[in-house]
Symmetry: C2
Subunit: 337 residues, 2 copies
């Protein structure tokens, strides 16, 4: 059973995942570049993954066989386990609990050769639907306090399989970064009685220098205090604390801006490795007026050095205004082969 | 002038370093593997760096010429600038100030072929003396609230020059990670009236499973909630909030344990890239009973993925107990060539 341990000083929880127990000789891990015959995410290899949780399928096709356009499966090497109780306990001054949670993989396409930006808009909409359906299902489990969707694209971003996929992790704790965001947003709300994210969007749309692209429902921008070069946030224009509460009619707009912005980054930065993470309200929404869900995209262009690790204090060599200008000027993002 | 910008939500300051202004084509940056004729940190090339701030020199040798055993210079491409006022100002709801600070490089040895673990104990003591002297000098500047010492070893850890060196950054703000440590330590102190770090050391020495090595004055251990495999902390056994207050007679003990633990990591992990960062109290010590300086060493063995970036919630595939056991069993660390 994996273990959740709390840093007693800063209160950060860490997953000690004994499933993946590594001895020194097991490092480094390379991305497994398999041909499609061996790729566990390719059609006909369905039996090499745990049984599927859900899939979008051709009429009449059977579970765990080909005929799917999107497939959600449990992670074969989960960082957290779905079974069991939390069993919170102290170890002297330390705190730990069982690593209970869900760890799922969303295989975005049956086509091994395609990245998410190569998919049709309709296919990207299905990816978003899958995120939404899985969150809504897992929210019913009272053990989980937070559900996170993220994507690691490329080896430098930590992807261990190249077939395009996203991941979901449901945790019994609220991760410290999300907690800090909630606290900051709450302080602002107490002072102003307005959502800080709404205020940021209003100011940025008015100012324009950090805006990359927008549509009726969403805006993509370079955040004022970007940690990384070309860091990009996609935010719903209308206040909404939780991703899974997105109205169905807004999903095509999110798919469109996601494909657009990832396409611009691919052209500008020569198909970079990147991570994206959906920041959404914890499951019990106590802060529905204060928090505002958004997607953070972090291209992996620089090595994060000791200074950043030690301090949470980042050095960004590209101004957000330059990054936004550069990405704005890419008029017609081309799919990158 | 570089700029310091504050994330309005979580309160994290970021350095936007226009000095290093990068267009997309400037990524990625490789470690410059220069031969010693071109290395700016090698003897006879002193003129290719800014003039030295201090050096340990043979009697009679002149500044900025060979004859030194250790040399401190301003970073040629500083993330922060030493001249100027802070000029804190608002930009609508955002906050920024000038990127005022010090950014220095400690060249640890004239020998291009040696890493810090290859140095004699006496030479490592000199490195520690240099850290201490530079902090004590910069503390007199009232603009600086925090001074951080760190080392990036190897390309994967963000080193841009291979000649062995450490860095110092003095900042007009307290970095958010240090702030969280201070806050956590303060809360614990309010409750217990004891330093949390002292309590951790006491419990760990008693328990033993996460201890790697100790001497009379210091202990090296795997922290209970380690974020990274083989993450290691070196802590003074006796309470002391600030690194630069270390008593001169303790410096040989710190040099000894630093060489020992870096040597063990080199043997165990085949000379890994790593970062180390000295966590020390901010310049104005308001928390002298609560905070406890220490060194955090982070070998770069895994790629930090989207999940970690988004959440501050880490997955560590090696238990701290296994890491400690493995490192403890390396009896005689050999210098790695």
């Amino acid at each position: 059973m994996p273990e959740l341990r709390k840093d007693p000083i800063v209160g950060r929880w860490v997953i000690i995942s004994t499933e993946r127990g590594k001895r020194p000789s097991d490092f480094p891990m390379e991305t497994r570049k398999r041909d499609t015959k061996l790729c566990p995410f390719c059609p006909t290899n369905e039996s090499s993954t745990p049984p599927e949780i859900m899939a979008f399928r051709d009429d009449g096709s059977k579970s765990n066989t080909p005929g799917w356009s999107l497939r959600v499966i449990p992670n074969k090497f989960p960082a957290l386990r779905i079974e069991g109780d939390l069993n919170r306990e102290g170890v002297g001054i330390f705190d730990k609990m069982n690593g209970v949670g869900a760890h799922e993989v969303i295989v975005e396409t049956p086509d091994h050769t395609k990245d998410i930006i190569d998919l049709e808009l309709k296919e990207i909409e299905n990816v978003i639907w899958a995120y939404r359906d899985r969150i809504n299902d897992l929210k019913r489990d009272p053990r989980f306090r937070h559900i996170m969707i993220f994507k690691n694209q490329g080896e430098a971003a930590g992807a261990s399989l190249e077939h395009s996929h996203s991941q979901l992790i449901a945790t019994p704790i609220v991760p410290i970064r999300i907690l800090s965001e909630m606290e900051g947003a709450q302080k602002y709300y107490e002072f102003k009685e307005r959502c800080i994210f709404c205020d940021i969007i209003r100011q940025e749309l008015n100012d324009g220098t950090r805006i990359i692209v927008e549509n009726d429902k969403f805006v993509a921008l370079s955040p004022f205090a970007a940690r990384f070069p070309f860091e990009t946030w996609v935010m719903p224009k209308k206040h909404n604390p939780a991703f899974e509460n997105m109205k169905p009619e807004n999903i095509p707009f999110f798919a469109e801006i996601l494909k657009d912005i990832l396409g611009r980054l691919a052209v500008a930065l020569n198909n970079p490795a990147y991570n994206y993470v959906i920041h959404s309200s914890p499951v019990e929404i106590n802060h529905k007026d204060e928090y505002h869900w958004h997607l953070e995209i972090m291209p992996k262009l620089t090595k994060v050095a000791g200074f950043e690790w030690g301090t949470g204090f980042y050095i960004n060599p590209t101004t957000p205004e330059d990054a936004a200008l550069y990405l704005r000027e890419i008029k017609k993002p081309q799919p990158v082969v």
